[in-house]
């Protein structure tokens, strides 16, 4: 059976090493030259339950996102039968441990294996028994990987090398056992099931997720202060920055709560560091007051908010785009801010970098809105996307002692001096002649709390004026795909739906294009209005209940959406979902 792209799902309980197995497989295929996308669906528990990991790859076409339909399932638990048998494509293979044969009966009909799944090959393998003979049940995942490679006629050498690299530090015994397990697994396959179509090797030497990419951008930008409190799916940002701490001089403070974390980064930003925090919706809610503090006091800082399913604890480990309104509007009063929304791993890097420049330049809080799917799915990508050439550090208006003197009156520094672009020069503590109070109160130019009306209006206007300059320098939204006059359909979406929509374009029979919204505040209203009003047929696609971005667009442009594809079950929609919905609209 020929295949351009293969999608492998490994299902089992939490704590069974499913994620590591998927990663190992993905890495070895990537090293062999494949384009790879690895995604996980996990429950909010540490042991038990049912989790799965999907590795989708191709040696022929770039793989941008996940696919709900799979070619091979490796079942390490009973739940996998009920959950995944029906997800197999015609001609797919269902590999399961022999001991689960009873479970198979429960799930389906009555073949020799106890299951009647038409067009699917059922393949019981003694994974556990084989593993135990080699030294322990722990090796069963490796046996399964051997089976998978065998089914595809893939050489074992890449995975064997991965095993040596990864487990080398654990000793020769572990490496040996794993390699034997892999070979034993492949030995269970008597004939190759899938013939993979091949093209040139992909130059996609890096495998990383959105959080990783964001961290690379932050480090490149000189971020050296992080304060955060763990919350899925943002936690890996704090882990990564902490791990790089010693090497790169990054102080990562695990704070007592999100309120503290946010106030700490405001303090560090005021002191002159490039500072950031990371959290999800619940933690961001706690930060709200201090985000406003940064806006009012005009302190640069960066907040990565990775969305998960809300409200409240919601589905803590699943994906959604439901915090858009929260990050846009979290506030007492009005203040300038920037909300950036990367759509893929490359944009996580570039926006992660830009966020710090823009925060410094406009002396505002910058929010980078991610979601679980983008934060945790791993893609293969060329290292060229993470270049530093051409990038510059722009710290905005930071004054030294003589600059401070020039901006002083009678020896008192004007921290909030009037200026055309709304941005005043600031001095960092330690700078002589720059002493002043940075404050959460409304103040005059000197930072002295005053309550008269004229001053309030003046200062408010000064701060909000920053948004004009900011909007002018943000890239305008562009259509991706067919040209505006050719496209029969224009999809509108944001964030992690980018690669999914891009895949839809490659699968549709009609010409279509995508309008991705990358900045929610400030908003390119005029450009977006022009694009949408000229479009033939507009379909809003969002991973939330109410079509939040659609609402934002309507507010800003008057454009109303008649057709919407929305999903809010905590699992990212795939291209097939969108196309099916499209057909029934």
């Amino acid at each position: 059976m020929n295949r351009k792209t293969i999608n492998i799902l490994i299902g089992g309980p939490a704590g069974a090493g499913i994620e590591s197995a998927g990663l190992l497989l993905g890495q070895s295929l990537n090293r062999e030259g494949a384009s790879v996308f690895i995604s996980n669906e996990i429950m909010s528990l540490i042991r038990g339950g049912h989790n799965y990991n999907r590795v989708r790859f191709s040696f022929l076409e770039p793989v941008l996102c996940h696919d709900e339909t799979v070619d091979i399932v490796v079942a390490l638990d009973k739940d996998s039968f009920a959950e995944h048998l029906s997800q197999l494509r015609e001609g797919g293979v269902f590999v399961y441990d022999k001991s689960l044969e009873g479970a198979a009966t429960g799930a389906g009909g009555s073949t020799a294996d106890g299951v009647d799944a038409p067009g699917v090959k059922m393949m019981p393998v003694d994974l556990v028994g084989t593993a135990k003979e080699l030294g322990g049940e722990i090796y069963k995942n490796t046996v399964a990987l051997g089976v998978v490679l065998g089914l595809m006629g893939e050489p074992l050498e890449y995975l064997e090398k991965m095993i040596r690299d990864k487990f080398g530090s654990k000793g020769a015994e572990v490496v040996d056992a794993n390699i034997k397990a892999l070979r034993a697994g492949a030995g269970f396959v008597s004939e190759v099931h899938f013939e993979l179509e091949r093209g040139d090797k992909f130059e996609e030497e890096m495998l990383l997720n959105g959080n990783d990419a964001f961290c690379l951008g932050a480090v490149a930008a000189g971020c050296k202060f992080v304060a955060a409190y763990p919350m899925t799916p943002a936690s890996s940002i704090m882990h990564t920055m902490a791990a790089w701490g010693r090497k790169k001089g990054i102080v990562m403070k695990h704070a007592e709560d999100e309120i503290a974390a946010m106030n700490m980064i405001v303090g560090a930003g005021f002191a002159g560091a490039r500072s950031m925090t990371c959290t999800s919706g619940g933690g961001f809610a706690l930060m709200t007051e201090a985000v406003g503090l940064a806006g009012c006091a005009e302190v640069p800082c960066v907040i990565a908010e990775s969305q998960r399913v809300g409200p409240s604890t919601g589905l803590p480990t699943r994906t959604e785009q439901g915090d858009l309104r929260q990050v846009m509007h979290a506030s007492q009063g009005d203040y300038p801010r920037l909300v950036m929304i990367p759509g893929d791993v490359a944009e996580c890097y570039s926006m992660g970098f830009d966020a710090f420049n823009l925060a410094d330049k406009y002396q505002i809080p910058v929010i980078v809105l991610l979601d679980k799917y983008l934060s945790e799915s791993i893609v293969s990508i060329s290292g060229d996307h993470f270049g530093t050439e051409g990038l510059e550090i722009d710290r905005g208006k930071i004054l030294d002692s003589s600059g401070a003197s020039a901006a002083s009156e009678e020896g008192f520094f004007k921290r909030y001096a009037e200026s055309e672009d709304g941005v005043s020069g600031r001095t960092l503590p330690g700078t002589e002649k720059g002493e002043h109070v940075t404050t959460s109160y409304e103040t005059d130019e000197f930072g002295e709390a005053v309550e008269d009306r004229e001053n309030r209006v003046l200062e408010m206007n000064k701060r909000m004026r920053k948004m004009d300059g900011l909007l002018a320098e943000l890239p305008e939204p562009e259509l991706v795909g067919a040209s505006a006059d050719e496209a029969e359909i224009t999809f509108v979406g944001f964030g992690s739906l980018k690669p999914v929509l891009e895949e839809v374009l490659t699968e549709l029979d009609v010409k279509a294009n995508i309008l991705l919204i990358k900045h929610a505040v400030p908003f390119h209203s005029e450009k977006i209005e022009v694009i949408l009003k000229a479009a033939n047929r507009v379909i809003l696609v969002e991973q939330n209940f109410s079509g939040m971005m659609g609402g934002v667009i309507t507010e800003n442009t008057g454009f109303k959406f008649d057709e919407k594809i929305l999903k809010y079950d905590g699992r990212q929609m795939d291209s097939e979902f969108i196309i099916n919905k499209l057909n029934s609209l």
Partner: protein, 292 residues
């Protein structure tokens, strides 16, 4: 050398005449001068409340943030630039109410921060509600039938939480308060300085008269020795004195301990500090290779 006149600000305080905060302000200024600090290298982080307005009236760097949050801001400042002398100052509601969690964690971290609490046992700026240090039974706007809770004891809280310099001052004894704050500034670690700060407008119980007739200084009491962790008896004594209340109330330094400050043990601060932002993009090639 910094002189008192260098600390003069553009405006003058607007506290009620006779407010204990004038004493705190004078003591903070005096301590900065005595400790020989440059105004450009001192940062005062405050919260919100009457007392929290203090950064406006001590000329150095100031950050007047949110109610209850002077410590996290101070933490960010100190960890971003350990060369600065960082103080946090705020009211009893600010520090023992909203900010209580931050306080306990800051003490166990032993951040090198001097924290002065203007403890007037009342919420001043919000016109007189009960505070975490109000005495049981006190009638305020929010407790018209009398406060039901017992007050927080800052000295015992400090001992239990790992502060390494624990003191109590009185705004009515300026030389003593000044030297306590000076000691805190010189101490490498977390200094908790609770200050009796009469609120002449809303607290009609804990007045100057109340304190004048009750306070005695530990420094003048020969039977009291300040001791650190190596002396469990003295530590117990510090705790006992911390509980002393009624006819006699002690002020002074209760406890001191030498322990590495948080920043001293932070690996990332060994070679640089976060405020040293490079003017060129940071090289990430090595980090990138970890994803290959």
């Amino acid at each position: 050398m910094t002189e008192l006149t260098d600390l003069q600000t553009k405006t003058n305080p607007n506290w009620c005449p006779g407010c204990g905060d004038y004493g705190v302000q004078a003591a903070v200024k005096g301590a900065i001068v005595k400790a020989g600090l440059k105004t450009s290298e001192v940062v005062i982080s405050s919260g919100i409340g009457c007392g929290s307005k203090i950064p406006h009236w001590v000329k150095c760097y100031g950050f007047e943030g949110l109610h209850g949050r002077p410590l996290p801001v101070a933490t960010g400042i100190k960890l971003a630039n350990p060369e600065l002398t960082v103080m946090a100052i705020g009211g009893d509601g600010d520090g023992y109410g909203l900010g209580m969690g931050h306080l306990i964690h800051s003490m166990r971290r032993n951040l090198d921060i001097t924290y002065v609490i203007q403890d007037n046992q009342i919420y001043g700026l919000t016109t007189g509600q009960t505070s975490p240090t109000s005495e049981k039974g006190v009638r305020t706007k929010s407790t018209p039938e009398g406060a039901i809770e017992i007050p927080v004891n800052p000295i015992e809280l400090g001992l239990a939480s790992g502060a390494t310099y624990i003191a109590r001052g009185y705004a009515g004894n300026l030389p003593h308060l000044t030297s306590l704050i000076e000691g805190g500034l010189k101490h490498r670690g977390f200094a908790l300085i609770d200050v009796f700060q009469p609120c002449v407008t809303f607290n009609k119980v804990n007045t100057y008269e109340y304190f004048n007739s009750r306070v005695y200084t530990l420094e003048d009491d020969e039977s009291f020795v300040v001791a650190g962790p190596g002396d469990p008896d003295a530590r117990c004594e510090a705790s006992r004195r911390g509980r002393e209340w009624g006819d006699k109330i002690p002020i002074g330094l209760f406890y001191r301990e030498e322990r590495p400050a948080y920043g001293d043990e932070e690996a990332a601060l060994k070679e640089s500090k976060p405020v040293d932002v490079p003017d060129k993009v940071v090289d990430i090639e090595e980090l990138k290779s970890s994803f290959m």
